[in-house]
C-alpha cells in the first residue's frame, strides 16, 4: 500500500533539491560581490612569500545595534588597517555567530579547526569557558577575549572591565539627579535598572554596584530592578519603564539591547531621566539622558590587537582594566550633558571620578 507514497516522496525530494539549488545560486551570487575582494587578496598573497596572518573577530551575537561589538570590531579593524598600512601582512575577518549561546561552541570550533586564523578576538564573559576546551583540542590557536576573565590557559588572553566602577558611576549620577531639583526628579529615593535578561555579571556586579553608587549619595536609595525577558521587546521595555516611573522611579538605566529604545521613548513621553551604559548615549534623547558611563572597548581592542601584531602582548594572563587606566570612564564633556545637567551635579560626579582615578576610592571586582 505504501509504494505509491514512497515514489511520491522520492520525486518531491528530487524536486526539492533542484529547487534549493536554484534558489541558492540566486542568493549566493548576490553575496559574491563581497567575496571578490577576498579572492583578489588571496591571489596576491599567493605571490607573496610573507605568510599572511588573518585575525578573526568572533562576534557572539550580531554586530549591528550592539555598541559593545561595534566597538570591538572597529577597534580591531583600526589596529589591522594600521599594521597593514605599515607593511605587515595581516587581514581581518568578522564572523557573526548569532545570539544562541549553545551554538557558539560549535562555531568557535569551526574557526579553530580551520587553522586559518592566527588569532581569534572576541568579547563576552561566557566565552572563555567555551573556548578553554576547544583550545585544548587546538593548542596552537590563540585567543584574545575582552569583557571576560579567565586564568590557566596560555593560549587564552582575557581582559575584563571593572564594571563595578562603571555601574557605580551610573548609580551615583542617577541618585544625584534623583535627589536634585531637576524638573522631572521626584522625592522618592528610587532609581531603576531594566535588564534584558538576568545573567551573572548583571546580578553579581552591575546591579549591586549601581545600588552601591546610589547609596553613596544617600543610603536610603533603592533600585527597582526589572527584566524584559529578551533583548528586543522595546514595547515591553517602554511599559516597564512607565510602570517604574509610576512607582516613583525618576532615573532608569536600561541594559536591555534593542529594548533600550523603549525606555528612551517612555522617558521622552513621561519625562523621567535615563542613565546610559557602555557608550555615549546623550544624543539618544537630549535632555533626558543624563549619564553615560562607558567602557573603552574600541581603544582596548585596538591597543591589544596592535600589541599582539607587534608581538608585545603578554599572552595567557588575565587583565583587569578600569577607571585608573581610562578604560572605564564617564562622558562628561558632551555638550548635551553640560547643557542639561546642573553644574552642581556635574562637579560632584567629577569629584567622584577623581577619587576613583587617584585610588582614593577603590572598587575592586572579585
Amino acid at each position: 500500500m505504501k509504494r505509491n507514497n514512497l515514489k511520491r516522496i522520492t520525486a518531491t525530494g528530487a524536486v526539492l533539491i533542484a529547487l534549493t539549488a536554484a534558489v541558492s545560486i540566486l542568493s549566493v551570487s548576490c553575496a559574491k560581490k563581497t567575496a571578490e575582494p577576498d579572492d583578489a587578496s588571496a591571489a596576491e598573497n599567493a605571490q607573496n612569500s610573507n605568510r599572511e596572518r588573518v585575525i578573526a573577530v568572533f562576534v557572539p551575537g550580531i554586530v549591528s545595534g550592539s555598541p559593545v561589538y561595534e566597538m570591538l570590531v572597529s577597534g580591531v579593524e583600526k589596529a589591522v588597517d594600521e599594521a597593514a598600512g605599515a607593511g605587515a601582512n595581516v587581514r581581518l575577518q568578522v564572523i557573526e555567530a548569532g545570539t544562541k549561546q549553545a551554538d557558539w561552541g560549535a562555531k568557535m570550533t569551526t574557526l579553530a579547526s580551520s587553522a586559518n586564523y592566527a588569532l581569534i578576538v572576541s568579547s563576552n564573559p561566557a566565552l572563555p569557558e567555551i573556548v578553554d576546551p576547544i583550545s585544548k583540542q587546538f593548542p596552537a590557536q590563540k585567543f584574545v577575549i575582552f569583557d571576560s576573565y579567565f586564568e590557566g590557559n596560555p593560549a587564552v588572553t582575557t581582559f575584563r572591565y571593572n564594571q563595578r566602577e562603571q555601574a557605580y558611576l551610573s548609580g551615583y549620577m542617577a541618585a544625584l539627579v534623583s535627589t536634585s531639583g531637576m524638573e522631572s526628579a521626584n522625592k522618592d529615593k528610587k532609581i531603576g535598572l531594566v535588564a534584558g535578561q538576568e545573567y551573572p555579571a548583571m546580578l553579581n556586579v552591575i546591579l549591586p554596584a549601581f545600588l552601591e553608587g546610589a547609596k553613596a549619595v544617600d543610603p536610603e536609595f533603592e533600585v527597582d530592578f526589572r527584566v524584559v525577558g529578551n533583548w528586543y521587546d522595546a514595547a515591553k521595555g517602554a511599559e516597564l519603564a512607565r510602570a517604574m516611573n509610576e512607582a516613583g522611579v525618576d532615573v532608569i538605566m536600561p541594559i536591555s539591547g534593542g529594548a533600550n529604545q523603549g525606555v528612551v521613548a517612555a522617558a521622552k513621553e513621561k519625562g523621567f531621566y535615563v542613565a546610559w551604559f557602555d557608550d555615549n548615549g546623550y544624543a539618544k534623547a537630549p535632555g533626558r539622558v543624563v549619564s553615560s558611563s562607558i567602557m573603552a572597548q574600541e581603544r582596548l581592542a585596538y591597543e591589544k590587537t596592535r600589541d599582539w601584531i607587534n608581538g608585545s602582548l603578554a599572552e595567557g594572563t588575565p587583565g583587569t582594566v578600569g577607571i585608573a587606566d581610562g578604560y572605564v570612564d564617564f562622558v562628561s564633556d558632551d555638550p548635551l550633558y553640560v547643557e542639561h545637567v546642573p553644574a552642581a551635579l556635574r562637579e560632584k560626579q567629577e569629584a567622584l571620578l577623581a577619587k576613583l582615578k587617584s585610588g582614593e576610592l577603590v572598587l575592586t571586582v572579585k
Binding site: 515514489k7 549566493v28 563581497t34 564572523i95 549553545a102 561566557a126
Partner: protein
C-alpha cells in the same frame, strides 16, 4: 556556479562540518518524528520547544547530581560502569517522561474539555520557557562560570563522537531508527493504524469504536516524549550541558520538517537531512563571511516557500521518472 557549489557543498567540505550536519539532522529527526506523530493522530503540537528544553534540563540535572557524578567517576576510574549506566538510563527515562508530560497535558485537556491543543500546547510552552530560563540562569547554573548553562555532565555520560572532531555520535543512527520504528508502528500495527485513522477520519474512528480520546492523548504524549528524546540527546550527545535558549527554533523547525515530510515518519529522515543541510550551509556561509545572516534568512524563507509547492516542473519530473521505471 562556483559560489553555489561552495554554498551547497560547504557542509561536506570536512568531516567536522559533515559530522555536525548529521548530528543536527539527528536531533531534528527525533523532534520532527514527534511532530509527525502528533499530526498523524490529528493533533497539532506547538509546544515542541518547551518539551525539548525541559527534557534537556532534566537530563542535565540528573546527570550532574552528586551521586551521578560519583557514579561517573567510578566508571571513569576503571570501576563498575553499572551505576553510571543506571543514571544514564534514568536520565533518559525522565527526559522522556518530562517531554511526554508536556505533551500529555494539552492532549488530556483536549480529550477532557475539548480545549484546542493547538493553543494549549503553545501556551504551556510559552509559560514554561521563562521558568526554565530562570532555572538555568539562577538556581541550576554552574556557579563558578559565566555561562548561562547548567554544569557540564561527566565524560562518562557523553556519547563518543563517531566522526571526530565533529559532534556526530550514535544518536544520529538512533534517530533514524526511531523514525523507522515510528513508521513501522504506524503502518504495521493495529495501534498505529487506529492512530492514523483517528487522525484522518475522527468521526469514522469513533463510529468504528476506536478509543479516539485515548488516541488523542496518546498521540500528543508520544509526540512530547519524542521531543524529549531530542532534548536528552542534545545533552548527552551534542552540548553536554543545558544552555539557556538551547531549544530555541528547534520546535518550529521540527514542525516544518514534519509538514515537509507530509506527516510521514519515514520521509522525516530525508527531510531532516535536507533541513539540516540548508541550515548548515547557511551557517558555514555566514562563518566564512561570504554572506550575512540576512541573506541566509531570505534563502531559508524562499526554500520554505518552494518546499511544498506543487510546481509544474514537479509534475514533469514525476512523469519522466515514471516513464523510466516503466521501461
Amino acid at each position: 556556479m562556483n559560489a553555489f557549489a561552495e554554498f551547497a557543498l560547504g557542509p561536506f567540505s570536512s568531516l567536522w562540518h559533515a559530522g555536525n550536519l548529521l548530528d543536527k539532522a539527528g536531533l531534528l529527526m527525533f523532534a520532527s518524528t514527534g511532530a509527525a506523530f502528533a499530526l498523524k493522530s490529528g493533533t497539532f503540537n506547538l509546544g515542541g520547544e518547551a518539551q525539548i528544553y525541559a527534557s534537556a534540563l532534566v537530563t542535565a540535572m540528573i546527570l550532574s547530581t552528586p551521586s551521578a557524578v560519583a557514579a561517573a567517576e567510578l566508571a571513569g576510574s576503571g570501576g563498575s560502569a553499572g551505576p553510571a549506566l543506571f543514571f544514564f538510563a534514568l536520565a533518559c527515562a525522565l527526559a522522556l517522561a518530562a517531554g511526554g508530560l508536556l505533551g500529555f497535558i494539552p492532549g488530556e485537556l483536549k480529550a477532557r474539555f475539548g480545549a484546542s491543543e493547538l493553543l494549549t500546547s503553545f501556551l504551556l510552552s510559552a509559560a514554561l520557557l521563562p521558568v526554565i530560563d530562570f532555572l538555568i540562569a539562577g538556581p541550576l547554573r554552574d556557579e563558578g562560570k559565566n555561562l548561562l548553562a547548567t554544569p557540564a555532565i561527566a565524560d562518562a555520560f557523553r556519547m563518543r563522537s563517531l566522526l571526530p572532531p565533529s559532534l556526530m555520535n550514535a544518536s544520529f543512527f538512533l534517530a533514524c531508527g526511531t523514525a523507522t520504528v515510528a513508521a513501522l508502528f504506524l503502518s504495521r500495527t493495529r495501534a498505529g493504524y487506529r492512530l492514523s485513522v483517528a487522525g484522518t477520519a475522527p468521526e469514522f474512528a469513533r463510529f468504528a469504536g476506536f478509543p479516539v480520546k485515548r488516541i488523542t492523548v496518546a498521540g500528543m504524549t508520544a509526540s512530547g516524549a519524542l521531543h524529549g528524546l531530542a532534548g536528552f540527546f542534545a545533552i548527552v550527545g551534542t552540548w553536554f550541558m543545558c544552555h539557556q535558549g538551547l531549544s530555541s527554533g528547534m520546535g518550529w523547525s521540527a514542525l516544518a520538517i514534519a509538514l515537509i515530510a507530509r506527516h510521514n515518519p519515514l520521509a522525516v529522515i530525508p527531510a531532516s537531512l535536507l533541513y539540516a543541510w540548508i541550515e548548515s550551509a547557511s551557517d558555514i556561509a555566514v562563518l566564512s563571511s561570504r554572506v550575512s545572516f540576512d541573506s541566509t534568512a531570505i534563502v531559508q524563507g524562499v526554500i520554505f516557500l518552494f518546499i511544498s509547492a506543487k510546481l509544474p516542473i514537479a509534475g514533469q519530473l514525476r512523469a519522466v521518472l515514471k516513464k523510466r521505471r516503466a521501461r
